[in-house]
């Protein structure tokens, strides 16, 4: 809306967890971080990845919601579940290919990253992007991101499911899309990115 886009680059993540702290500061979910933070192959490496909701064009979480509680707004933001509707059934948590939705057991409600809607809807940057020291999470204009070596992509393949998203992932320049062989991951071997089809 204001010409900014969200770019996630896990290769820049230094694991400082500033984004988790900053996210907790948000008034709509104070004390609860909506950032998804993972260590990658922790036995062998110190790599980490912090990422936010990708805000899919066809959000799987909302499509599987039996209570019609998850809504995608006109500006493309997929919001947390509506409190009066959410029945805490965990469908969205299980269905999301990125593993974004978080079930808040005390509240009996699913909550997720809404890209700091109270901030981004008035042109401010999300909390996480303002604090990230390495710009692994950055909320900038597309021309600013074009100077990076990696290329942003918002096309993902999970097996046969193609997902296009609002948030961009920084990928190697030669890749058009990011494809994951889900079955391969289930065997916990050879976690390789597979080349994107078409």
């Amino acid at each position: 809306m204001f010409g900014y886009e969200f770019y996630v680059d896990p290769s820049r993540c230094i694991g400082c967890r500033s984004c988790l702290q900053a996210c907790e500061e948000c008034d709509t979910h104070r004390g609860k971080s909506m950032i998804n933070f993972d260590f990658i192959e922790r036995e062998e490496s110190i790599r980490s990845a912090a990422y936010v909701c990708w805000h899919c064009d066809e959000p799987t979480c909302a499509q599987v919601c039996p209570a019609d509680a998850i809504k995608k707004g006109e500006d493309g933001i997929v919001h947390s579940s509506l409190k009066p509707r959410c029945i805490a059934c965990n469908n969205c948590v299980l269905a999301c290919p990125f593993g974004i939705p978080k079930m808040m057991i005390p509240e009996q409600q699913m909550m997720k990253c809404d890209m700091c809607y109270d901030r981004t809807s008035i042109g401010k940057r999300p909390m996480c992007a303002t604090v990230c020291p390495s710009q692994a999470l950055s909320y900038v204009r597309p021309e600013e991101i074009a100077s990076r070596r990696e290329k942003p992509t918002n096309i993902f393949y999970f097996g046969s499911q193609k997902i296009t998203t609002k948030v961009y992932m920084m990928a190697p320049a030669e890749r058009e899309a990011i494809a994951l062989d889900v079955v391969d991951y289930m065997w916990e071997e050879n976690h390789e990115l597979v080349a994107a089809r078409d």
Binding site: E58, P59, A62, Q63, D68, K71, K72, G73, E74
Partner: protein, 167 residues
């Protein structure tokens, strides 16, 4: 209800409970309540307006207009005239030697012109078979719900003068 929908292969529930807020057609309880409150507020204001108008209502002053000579029409005969303005068409019937009745010619249903049926001795509207009594203009049959407005006639010497519209 399929003919109402845009051409799509999606199931109906996906359209009605769309993931996108922009396409949502679901009416929430709160929206319906707002609608009901606003509608009844509108009704209330409208009724107050009608009340105020009726308080300031003035009975119109009718002109006195000679419409016919005595004996101008035969018994069972009819004369058409306009009263109180040129656009209000009226019908006058001589029912007896010295008995004249007059009504507005506009049917109270959908404003067709009524005519006098001598055979049935009643006023008939040809549009939807609405029949009116010749005695007092009340509805005998058909869709009209109100009687025909009556023109009050007065005999002044040799002249019949319309002085008022009643009803």
């Amino acid at each position: 209800m399929n003919w109402l929908r845009r051409g799509t292969s999606e199931p109906l529930w996906k359209e009605e409970f769309s993931v996108r807020t922009a396409d949502e057609r679901y009416v929430t309880r709160r929206q319906l309540t707002k609608f009901l409150v606003l509608t009844s507020l509108g009704m209330f204001v409208g009724n107050i307006w009608i009340l105020i108008r009726s308080l300031f209502y003035k009975t119109p002053v009718y002109p006195q207009q000679p419409v016919a000579e005595l004996g101008e029409i035969p018994i069972g005969g009819v004369k058409l005239f306009s009263y109180p303005t040129k656009d209000d068409h009226c019908i006058m019937i001589r029912t007896a030697e010295d008995e004249y009745v007059s009504y507005s010619q506009k049917c109270t249903h959908l404003s067709c012109a009524v005519y006098y049926s001598q055979a049935e001795n009643r006023l008939e509207c040809p549009c939807h078979q609405g029949f009116f009594s010749i005695k007092d203009g009340t509805v005998l049959q058909g869709p009209p719900s109100r009687p025909l407005p009556r023109i009050v006639l007065e005999t002044r010497g040799e002249q019949l003068v319309a002085i008022e519209v009643k009803g």
